[in-house]
Symmetry: C2
Amino acid sequence: MSENKNETADRSEGPASGASQARRRAGSQAIDEVQRVFESLRNAVLDQRLPPGLQLKEQALADAFGVNRAVVRQVLSRLEVFRLVSHEPNRGVFVAHPSAAEGRDLFTARRFIEAAIVELAVERLRDADIERLRALVKREQQAYADGDLRKALRLSIDFHTKLADAVGNTVLAAFLDEIVTRTPLVVLAHRKASQPTCALSDHAQILDAIAARDVERAKALMIEHVGHLQGRLALDPGAKRSDSNIARLLGLDAVDNPI
Amino acid sequence: MSENKNETADRSEGPASGASQARRRAGSQAIDEVQRVFESLRNAVLDQRLPPGLQLKEQALADAFGVNRAVVRQVLSRLEVFRLVSHEPNRGVFVAHPSAAEGRDLFTARRFIEAAIVELAVERLRDADIERLRALVKREQQAYADGDLRKALRLSIDFHTKLADAVGNTVLAAFLDEIVTRTPLVVLAHRKASQPTCALSDHAQILDAIAARDVERAKALMIEHVGHLQGRLALDPGAKRSDSNIARLLGLDAVDNPI
DNA sequence: GACTACAATATTGTCAACAATCAGGTGCAG
DNA sequence: CTGCACCTGATTGTTGACAATATTGTAGTC
């Protein structure tokens, strides 16, 4: 049911890897192409490789992924539904540049959603589920220890989505997935300084509380954890104006060319 | 180059109260066509005019709405993202037939989301907002009194979405909107008997509790209200199997032709 | 020198024809 | 009568060409 599985090994966007047009004679060749391209772009967002404001040109994407422009068009349409890009008629689609207000809404919603998930987790998770999540947290901490920040960030994200999956409510899992996917764009647009996006691993503690079936503590820890994340961003109402051009370009060349 | 500040985004557009497409931008004729057709179909779902399982053929829709097949295709793609239709490759798209499990997930999620919205409503709503909502409830009760069930149902739905809008969190509002839009399909697929879908108007009481800034009572009432709604459906785990064809067809001819 | 009008280019949006695939029916053989 | 191969009509999927639009560059004028 859930169309997004972050299980897929991060093959990134391998531009020409699509050149291997493995014609599966099973019908609908391009229909899973849409899936593939969508996942690639979603992964790029999650890894913070797509700077807000960047224009995504149809032909360039089509060439890069070795697909038709129609496929790209469909992917962009889906990305727009998830607010990952914004579409300006007759001008093109641009990587979304979420406002501070949108960032605040996102985090506020996230607190509620994560609290709900934790609440269900306490009453539903089996020991096997918890063990699996513990292993995930361990890998995350190892990645931090190894200094592999990108991998650690990704595993940190995976913890939240996997926890949601484990709870078994597809709707809440999908909502959290959407929030989590949109968050990196908020981070890029409103990071306070050169803060690491996710440092301390509160995840282990949260898991402990869930294992101990301590609802209130688990919820409190999770809400605090989300608060930590938000605290590294500048989302205050009167804060710095969203800038229009220069700041965005400054942010742009700080990241290597994504495509 | 290219200043694009996308602050205001339009996503699921609110309840779509009619065809108020006053702004007529020169370009992009068909792009708001997509919007229009999407809203029409979404309204059809909200009014329970689309029986789960019905096939939506591209050419038929194109003819019915007087648009290109490409437009229809884009609309169907968006509907699929919202789980309002299900797409079977090389076969077509069909009005979604949510399983009982999906229905349960939907209602469980809804309880959390509505509770969150109520919680924010208590601390954020101004008197003017509450007055506006009271007027809405009044119209709803009047519709019931007039025996206009369809209108009453629609106003009842509007109460929830408008309350979410008033709270001002775009993310939570969008989530509730998605839930509310998917619910009618669950109702059609799993209605217990010939139950009216929404009878008693707890809405007034909920509003009173919000106006009195009584968070706990407001939340409790809202959760109870959602529980009432769910109670009219047969979503129990071991309940009647989701059937595959016959029940779907039975549900089909019970409703007049949707297009 | 700055501003406007205009041409050139690049990009998006639209459309219809073509190909691939599936559902249903027909006829033949057993 | 039943089962299987095949044919036929209908529907979806794909592609490329064409039109509409915005952006950039250039020249001309005040």
